[in-house]
Symmetry: D2
Subunit: 400 residues, 4 copies
C-alpha cells in the first residue's frame, strides 16, 4: 500500500515559524538533521502510524510580498541561525513549495497586521462568505494539483487583537447569514480560515492566540463536517516553563506570592505584539496558567516587549516569590533564551502529523489529547505540562 | 480511642534543620503558623491516618555542647529568619524537648565532623557494638519515660565522607561479628544509628547523603526485625529543580548538552561540605539525577562552595545548555535562593508522619513510595519528581 | 566652640526612607551601628567640617496618621529588616522626634497620593501662599523650640505626577502673584515645600523625582535668598548600576543595542508608582542616563511594577545587548536585590551633612558637586557615576 | 613621508584569539567592518600617530598543524560566529599571512599544552639559548622579507602553569648563563619568547597570565636593550566587570562580604585551563582585583570550568553579597555572555598599535599607561578600570 500523500498548508506561510517549518521539513527529508526537538520522534510514539516527512507537500497563504529565499536569508542575517551548508541544500525544495503560496486575507486583523500586508489582494473588502470561498478554492486547488489524500491547515500568522463574540456567533446558521453581509467585522481572518478549512472537513490547527475555531458556530460546523481541530497558542518557552514549575510549587505546598514574567524579543511577531491591542490576546493566554495550576491566584505580571536587537531570540526573565515553612519568603528566578521559530517549528510538524492521524481515525471536534502543545488548550482545563503529556501518552498507548 | 503518642528522635538534634523542625512543630501545635510547605497537609492526604502534630514528643542525639535557645538565636542572627514573637511563644516547648537530647557519636565520621564535636563522650573509642547499645539505651529510655507508642529516628546530622563497603558488610551475621571488634572503621556513625534503630524494629529515615541503612547487612537486619526505613538525602532545592526540569527537556526531545550547577551557602553543613572528602558524597548524590532522567549523559558539573556570608541561605545557579531543532543551541538559567533549614524541616515532619504510619501498617524494608523526598531514593531508579510524586499518590489512594 | 545644633526636616516623615533615616541616626548616635554605606564616612571626607550625628534633631511633615513605632514595626514585619535589639534601643529617640512631625499638604499631588493621606488638614484647600506660610510656621517653630543653628529640608515623600511648567513659572514675581490665587494647580506640594524652605534661606534637598525646586521662579528665589539646593531623585539601585556600567561600554567602544530594565517592588512608593501618571516621572528620570553617557540612543525600556510581596525589596533585572568586534552580539544581565529604604537612608544623611556645610560656606543655588547622589542632578549633564564622584572629590579636596 | 610598515607577530598564531585578530585586521583593511570594540578608535585617540590597519603584516609562531582556513571554519562551526560573506572576502589575506607562521616551542609549557602540540619541531629538546636563537631568526627573517620598520610580538597562546622564580632569574647575566645549560626548566616558553623579542629591542605584549617578561632578569634585559613591554592577561570579561563594579561598592561605602565568580567555556583555552595546574595561573590573576580595589579582603571564590558545548562563548555568573546601612545584607548578581576571541581580538590590535607608538617614542620598560587592558598590569597596583583608563587618557593628552 502506498503511504498517503499529505499537504501542510501554512497560514503566514513566509513568516519566521513557517519558514523554519519548511526548512526543517526539507532538511529532515534529505536526512540533513536529526529529529531533536520533535516530540513525535520520541520512542513512545514508535508504532503509531504517523506520516513520514517525505510524504509532505507544503503550501500556504501569506499577505506579504516575499519568498522563502528571502525569509531564510533574513533569519540567517538577523538571528544568526541556519548554517549556509544546510540552507543551500534545501533551497530547491523551498522554491518548489513557494510556488504553492497564495495571497491570504487581513480581513479584520487590526491595523498593525494590515500595515505589514503589502499584497493589495490581501486587503480586498469583501463579504466573509467571499473570502471563505477564495480560501477554499486555494485549498482545493492545492489538493488537486498535488493529488493529496489529506491536507492539514496550520495558523502560524501574526496574533490578532482580541475579538468579542456576540449572538451572531452562537450558531452555525446565524453566523452563516452574517457572513453574507458586506461587513468586515463579523469574523477575524483567523476564523475565516478556520471556517473555510473545517467546512471542507479538513483538520485545522491554531498555533496562535487568535480566535480561530473558538467560536460556538464554528465548533458546531466542525461537528457537522466531522472535522477535527486543536489550539490555541503553541506552548514554546516561558509559558512552557510556567506549566512545568508551577506543579512543583503546588505539590510541595509552597505558597506562591507573586510570579512576574518579562519577555523581550524582536521578530515580526514581536512587532505585532508591540501594539497593545494585539498584545492583550497573548498576555491573557500566558497569564492564566499559573493560577489554574496552583488553585489560587498569586499576584502575576506578564510583559512582552519588542526589543529590535533581539531578533528571533526571545528572552524571558521570571521572578517567582514564594513562602515556605514558618512564613519564610524565598525566590526562584529563571531566564530562558530561546529562538522563537526554532522552538515552534518542530511542534508544528508534530501537530500536523498527529492531526492527520486523527482525521484518518475519524476523530471529530477538539483534539484534547494535544493539550500539552498549547498555552490555551481548547476544551481542556488542565495546564500542568506533565498531566497534559500523560493525556497524550494514554492516547498513544490506546492507538497502538 | 486515644491517639498514639509518638516520638521524633533527631540525629544532629541541635543542628539547623533539627532546630527548625522542633520550632516548627511547636509553632504548629500552638497554631502559630499555617501548614505551608508540608506535603502531608495537601488535600490529597486528607483521610490518611497521620499523627497530628500535638501527638509528638521530641528527643535526639547531638555531639556539640549547645541548646535550642542558642541554636534558634544563631539562626535568627545569622540567617534573619524566625520572628521573635514566634520563637518566644515556643521556647518553653524547646526547653522541654532539649531535656531529651543525649550525647551522640562521631565514630568514623571523618575529621571535619570530629572537630566540630566538643562533647568528649561523643569521641569515646569503643566497639561498634558498645556504641549501638548506648544508642539503644537512649532510645528505649526516651520511649519509656514518655510512654511513647512509637518512635521514628531521623538523621539530620552533617554529611559524612563516602564509605566503601567490603565483604564484612554483606550479611547481618558477618557485620555483627565485626562490630564486636575494637575497630572504629567498621561502620560510620550514621550506620551505627541505623543499626541501633532498625534492630529495635523502629523506622529509620536518612535525610543526609551519609551511608545510614544502605548496607546489605543492615537491610537484612531491617527485614528480620520487620522494620521500615527510607532515604537518602532530602531533595530540597537545586536537585529538586533538576528533577522537575529534566523531564521537560526529555519530553520535548531537546538534547541537553551540558548542565552546570553551582551552589553556595554558609551554614554548618556548608562548613562540613567544604572538606572535599565530605563534599564527594553530596556531589555524587546531586549529579546523577539529570543523566538518569534524560537517558543519556550530558556534560555535568556540580560545585558546592562554603561562602560564610550566605549563612543558611543556599543559592544555586544552574546553566542548562541544550540543542533544539535544526541544531540551534539555546539556554536556560535559573537561580534558586532558599533557606536550607526552612526547606528541609517540613519534609522531615512529612517523612516522620509517613514512616510512623508505615510502621503501624506493618510495612517492611525501604519505603519506595517516599522517593519524591530524596535525591537518592533507596530502591528506586526513578528520579523524575512528578513520576515519584505519582507513586506517592497511588500509595495514598491505596491506603484510604 | 560648641558645634552647631542642626535640624533635619523630612517631608514624608513617617515613610519608609524617613523612618530608616531616623532609626539610623539614632543608632549612629548611640554607637549601635557602624558607618557602612555612608559616603561621608569614607576616609577622603576626613577633615571636612561635617556635623556629627549627635548634633542632629529631627522633625518633618507627613500626611498620614501614624507614628515611628508603627512605621518601624511595619518595616520589620513586611520587609524583614531592623533587629528588635536595635530598634528597642532607639525607640525613645524616635518617640521624641515623632513629637516634631506636623501635618503636611497633598496640594496638587495627584489622586493616588491624596488617597493615602488620612489626615484631613493635609487636604485643606487653600491658596499656595497660605500653604507656604503654614509650612514656614512649622519650620520656624521647629528651629525656635530646639534652638537650632541650621535646618535642612529633605523631600523623601512619594513621587508626584509630572508637572508642566508655563509662563507663570518663569519669574519669582509672576509665580508669587499666582500663588495668591485660590488655585490648587499653580504648584505641586513638593514645590510649595521648596519655595517655603528656600524663601527662608535654608537648604532644600529633593530626593524624589517630583518637581521641587526645578522651577525657574524658585531657582530665582533661591539666588535672591542666598539659599542652596540639590536634587532630583536619589540614585540608589538600578540607575546607579546603569551609570556605573554604561561608562565601561562607552570606554571599550562596545555598541549598546538595547538596554532593558525591569523593576519590581512592593512598598508604599511602589503603590504610588503603580499609578501610570506618577510612574511617568520616575521612568523619565531612570531612562535618560544611558543615552547621555553613551552619546547615542540605544533602544531602552524601563518598567516599574508594584509587586506587593516584595515589600521594600526592590529587585531589578537588566538585560544589556551589545555588539562587539566583527559585529558579534553579546549580552550582560544583572539582578540587583536591594532594600529601598536601606539604600536611600544613608544618602539622605550624607546629603544633609553636605548641604549644611554648603550653607555654612555660603554656597548658593544648585550644589553641582552632589551630582553623584542623583538620577537627574540639577544643573549637571554628566551621568557617569565615576566622573560625578570625581567632581565631589575635587570639591572635598578644595574644601580642606 | 611613507607611513612605516609594521609587523604583528602572534604567539599562538592559529589559536582562536589570533585567528580573530587576523580576520578582523583583514576585514578592517577592506572596510568590511566598522571599528566597534576598538578602544583606539574612540574619538579621544584622534590625532595620535597610530598605525593604520593597512600598514600591518602578520606572522607568528604556533605548535599545532593547522591553517587559518581551518581555524576560521572551526570557529564558524562551533561558536557560530563570522559570517561566510565576511570570511570569504578575507581568506586571501589569511592565506598570505599564514605563509608567515613558523613552528614555535612548548619548552616547559606543561604536559597539557605539550599534548596539543602536534608539530614535532615544537618539542625539540634544546638549550634555552638555542630556542631563543631559533625564535630570533624567525623574527628577523619576517622583518627582512617584508621590509618592516617595526615588529611587535604578542603572546596569545595557551596559559602555562605557574612558574616559581629562583636566584638564577635575578639578573640578566645569571639567567643568560643558565640558558646555556641543557635544562628545559630554566624558563617557560612564554619567557623564552619574551627574552628573544626584547633582546632585539622590539616590543613584547603578554596577553596571557603566563610568565612572559615578568622575570627580573628579563626586565633588566629590556632596559638594556631599550625595549618596552606590557601585560599580563587581557582584561576582557568577568574581570573587567569586577574592576568596573568594585569601585562602585567602594565609593558607596558598601561592605562586600563575598564575591563568587563562576566561569564556564569550551574553547581550546578552556581545555588547557581544565588542567588544575594551568588553571592556577588564571584564577590568581582573576582573584586579586577585588580585594585590591576595596582595600580589604572579602571572601572570594573564582572557578573556571571547561564545558565543551559552550565553545568560544564564555559565560560568567557572579554573585556579590554586600552589607549596607543598618547591617542589611543585599545582593547583586550578573551574567556575562561573551565570545572570548571576539572580546580579546580588538584589544590585541589596540595594544599592538599603542606599543608600536611607544617604541617609536623611545619608551622603555613596562608601559604602565596600558594597565586598563590587563588583569595583572605590570608595574601598576591600580585595578579600578576607570582610574586605569584615566591614566591612559592622561598619556594620550600628553602625546598630542
Amino acid at each position: 500500500m502506498t503511504p498517503p500523500r499529505v499537504g501542510l498548508w501554512l497560514l503566514g506561510a513566509h513568516g519566521g515559524v513557517a519558514t523554519t517549518v519548511v526548512l526543517g521539513l526539507a532538511a529532515l527529508r534529505r536526512g540533513l538533521i536529526d529529529s531533536t526537538s520533535l516530540v513525535t520522534a520520541l520512542p513512545q510514539f514508535d508504532g503509531l502510524k504517523l506520516d513520514s516527512f517525505n510524504q509532505f507537500v507544503v503550501g500556504g497563504h501569506d499577505v506579504r510580498r516575499t519568498s522563502y529565499r528571502q525569509a531564510v536569508h533574513e533569519l540567517q542575517q538577523r538571528s544568526n541561525i541556519f548554517e549556509p551548508g544546510l540552507t543551500d541544500a534545501c533551497l530547491a525544495d523551498l522554491d518548489d513549495w513557494g510556488e504553492n503560496v497564495r495571497v491570504g486575507t487581513v480581513s479584520n486583523s487590526g491595523p498593525t497586521i494590515s500595515k505589514l500586508a503589502d499584497l493589495p489582494e490581501a486587503h480586498r473588502a469583501d463579504t466573509g462568505r467571499a473570502v471563505i470561498e477564495r480560501i477554499q478554492n486555494d485549498l482545493r486547488d492545492f489538493q488537486a494539483r498535488h493529488r493529496l489524500d489529506q491536507v492539514v491547515v496550520v495558523n502560524v500568522s501574526s496574533t490578532e487583537p482580541p475579538f468579542a463574540l456576540s449572538d451572531i456567533h452562537s450558531s452555525r446558521e446565524r453566523l452563516a447569514n452574517a457572513l453574507q453581509r458586506r461587513d468586515q467585522t463579523v469574523l477575524p481572518a483567523s476564523s475565516l480560515y478556520a471556517w473555510a478549512t473545517l467546512d471542507l472537513g479538513w483538520p485545522f490547527i491554531n498555533f496562535t492566540p487568535s480566535l480561530g475555531a473558538c467560536v460556538p458556530a464554528i465548533e458546531e460546523l466542525a461537528l457537522e463536517r466531522k472535522a477535527c481541530h486543536c489550539g490555541k497558542d503553541g506552548k514554546t518557552g516561558e509559558t512552557l516553563m510556567k506549566t512545568v514549575l508551577a506543579p512543583m510549587f503546588a505539590l510541595r505546598n509552597f505558597r506562591v506570592l507573586s510570579w512576574v514574567g518579562h519577555n523581550i524579543f524582536g521578530n515580526r511577531d514581536g512587532l505585532v505584539l508591540d501594539d497593545p491591542v494585539n498584545k492583550a490576546s497573548k498576555v491573557k493566554s500566558k497569564d492564566q496558567v499559573v493560577s489554574s495550576i496552583l488553585g489560587y491566584k498569586p499576584q502575576t505580571h506578564v510583559s512582552i516587549e519588542y526589543i529590535e536587537s533581539m531578533d528571533d531570540w526571545k528572552t524571558a526573565w521570571d521572578h517567582i516569590h514564594f513562602r515556605g515553612f514558618l512564613g519564610v519568603k524565598m525566590m526562584m528566578q529563571f531566564t530562558w533564551q530561546g529562538c522563537d521559530s526554532i522552538l515552534a517549528a518542530p511542534l508544528v510538524l508534530d501537530l500536523a502529523r498527529l492531526a492527520l492521524l486523527s482525521q484518518r481515525r475519524g476523530e471529530v471536534g477538539p483534539l484534547k489529547h494535544l493539550a500539552c502543545f498549547f498555552k490555551s488548550p481548547i476544551g481542556v482545563e488542565e495546564h500542568d505540562f506533565f498531566k497534559q503529556f500523560g493525556m497524550l501518552g494514554e492516547y498513544v498507548r490506546g492507538e497502538k
